[in-house]
Amino acid sequence: MTGLHDITKLHAEGHPVAKGEPILELRGLQKKYGAVEALKPANITFLSGEVHAIVGENGAGKSTLIKLLTGVIRRTSGEVFWCGKSVQLATPTEAIARGINAVHQEVVLCRHLTVAANMFLGDEIQANGLMRKRAMTEAAQAVLDDLGFNLPAGALLSDLTIGQQQLVATARAAMRGTQFLIFDEPTAYLTRQESAQLFRLIRRLQSEGVTIVYISHRMEEVFELADRVSVLRDGTHVGTRLIGETNDAELISMMINRTIEQIYHKEHLPIGETIVETRGLSGPGFDDISLSVRAGEIVGLYGLIGAGRSEFALGLYGRQPVSGGEIFWQGDKVKIANERKAMDLGIALAPESRRDQGLCLNLPIGLNINLPIFDRLTKGLTINRRREIENADKQISDLKIKTPTRRVLASAMSGGNQQKIVIGKWLSHGAKLFIFDEPTVGVDVGTKAEIYRLFARLLEQGAGIILISSYLPEVYELSDRLHVFRQGKLVASHTYRSASHEEVLTQAIGV
């Protein structure tokens, strides 16, 4: 019996519900974390075969809802009806058995196992009690190829970038979620290309009768995919709309209870002196990169996953040795041997992976925010407690990080709020050059707008910004200059809005 057979068998066990009929109903579903009510009693109905989007601010309770439905956490109260029958959904196994599966916001896979092993984990293909590794690798490869993800099934997961890991999680869920499939911000780390593939996949699954729940902060995706959309605000379900009967503005105002006139806040400031210039900088993953950043400008770097932008940033920041080329800092040739040197020069880096590079997850928010500046908070032998507290609280309120106090562990924050901590770390550092690598991954629209406004504030103070993003609208709208990376090389450069989306995309793909 093979794993795939298992899945088909489960499929058969499900109680088929006619398309358009309720497949999953929540009645007063609630989740409390101690005193925090992450999800207030919610009544939402999901119809069989629909694509149901869920939107809401960071910390609104979207992921909490998903975790409840997949048995990751247990509800505090309320009921769930699956195909008309009350169910517990107390364990992941139960959810999987009913054909419910999710691609979680944070990739939850085993780094030490191969792609294939991860895809078949808990459901291995076996013969005579032994695993059939070859068969699993082949089957996994077939699934990956079928979905159009160009990934080797035999690779170790830790060798993949986050984006690729996200694709693995997607493939895995698609393989298992035979009835009900949930995507929690699946495109956060994906570029246009992969997003497009994902959308095709979702439509295909929908046509096969799978019910899809889709969570995203990107409105255009919601409008492109969804049949209906539900909005959460502060753990409350504030409403569900048919997609045809609503618009951006309404959803946003439902989400944040006010309107945003403009998301991409772009002020054209006078450009100042060159802050940093690289000439032919090369290193692992990038080759011969020459670019410069001047005071008051945003330099955008766009490219597909693995194009080498993050590697370039890490090289510039001294995290990884560069193998060739030169760096000029305010006109002087410098060698940036380590991160400390970069920081001392005045470079700040908000890295792309908040989990692996950005945060000390099991430490308090306050400590995370202050980590880069403890030397400055130190007076004599000890840290100036007052200033430490002040700074942490200031960043928390400036960035509207949704936490009661700075003492909460970073791990207890919602994805978007974690991202804000990563950015908040560097705001009090007072650098000249800020490198933001995917700064708005998982951040809600309202906060995004605030972050962009914050960029403007930094620019006003005479700083320069390198903005790395796989979200084209963002780099496109914000960058004074936009560089396109492909396979570790800088292949094209544009000034503000001097090229069309399609042009930039084509250059990134390299057709």
Partner: protein, 324 residues
């Protein structure tokens, strides 16, 4: 080129990387043997090779059991104590007139129970593995001493005590026992889904849980295997020394962990094999055997053992880094 492709980061799967690693530790072991063969006349005598195989056997089995636990990112400090306790148990049972086979079976069951208790403490009581196994280590020695009243129980069953001295096909029976453990262990760890679950739990227990892996059961499995291996070694030890004594095998837990780590197991979990700990154990045994043959002062022997551990693991580290 079509739009579908993102060719850049397509890491090549590292086929057989693990086997290569095992081979090179084997290389180190063979190198040590060659060296000893050249510097002493007695090393390559069949008698000495038998000794060497016997001496490494018990640690090797403990190390394999320990490896299961370490792969789940746990640790089992109690194995030494379990060995001592098992030797007391079998001696006591035999003394009480229980026939050999049931006595051995019961002793192994004691091992199973101890492992289950560890897992219970970890899974249900939420205790750190370090603490619960340290506590059993302390308590088991006490219970064993209580049973023997601080002394030893002689084993008069000759069939039992002769076993450890016997050879089969010219190879010491103790070494055969290593194979008896290692072969199923290999199948279990590398070929069965249970082995894979051990790795998954050690790598990311949350991910494993979300995949429907029964994490608790996996942890029970790991600790039970480790304790059962230890109880088995207790039988072998009792056979070898002909007595039951609760204070035996002191410090063997560290030997077992060291063998496992030398064999490439990571204490952070999710990295490990069956052949690695075996090689680790026999490397340690070789160092001791060689030092004895070379008549190295026993104090120097300690110094050299420490230094060799560093050197071996360092080279291994280098090689692994290079092979990346």
């Amino acid at each position: 080129m079509s739009v579908e492709t993102t060719t850049e980061t397509a890491p090549v799967p590292k086929r057989g990387m693990n086997i290569l690693f095992g081979l090179t530790l084997l290389g180190l072991l063979l190198f040590l043997w060659l060296l000893l063969g050249m510097s002493t006349t007695s090393f390559w005598t069949s008698n000495n090779i038998s000794n060497l195989l016997r001496q490494g056997s018990m640690t090797a089995i403990l190390a394999v059991g320990q490896t299961f636990v370490i792969i789940t990112a746990g640790i089992d400090l109690s194995v030494g104590a379990v060995v001592g306790f098992a030797s007391v148990t079998i001696a006591w049972l035999l003394q009480a007139g229980v026939p050999l086979w049931p006595a051995m079976g019961l002793t192994l069951l004691v091992g199973v129970a101890i492992g289950a208790f560890h897992a219970f403490g970890i899974v249900r009581m939420g205790l750190p593995a370090f603490i619960i196994t340290l506590a059993t280590l302390t308590s088991l020695r006490g219970i064993g001493l209580l049973i023997t009243n601080g002394s030893t129980i002689s084993i008069s069953n000759d069939a039992f005590t002769d076993f450890s001295r016997a050879d089969f096909l010219g190879v010491p029976s103790l070494f055969w026992m290593v194979l008896v453990v290692a072969v199923p262990a290999y199948i279990f760890l590398h070929l069965s889904r249970w082995g894979r679950y051990l790795f998954a739990v050690g790598s990311n227990s949350e991910a494993a849980r979300l995949s429907g892996v029964n994490v608790n059961r996996t942890i029970y499995l790991a600790y039970i295997l480790s304790s059962t291996c230890a109880a088995f070694v207790g039988l072998l030890l009792a056979s070898r020394i002909g007595i039951g004594n609760a204070t035996q095998a002191e410090g063997w837990e560290l030997q077992a962990i060291a063998s496992s780590v030398i064999g490439g197991t990571s204490l952070f979990g999710a990295v490990g094999s069956v052949h690695g700990p075996l090689l680790g154990a026999f490397i340690l045994a070789t160092i001791n055997n060689g030092a004895n043959l070379l008549n190295v002062n026993s104090f120097w022997q300690r110094i050299i053992t420490g230094a060799l551990i560093i050197i071996i693991v360092y080279f291994d580290q280098l090689r692994r880094r290079a092979s990346r």
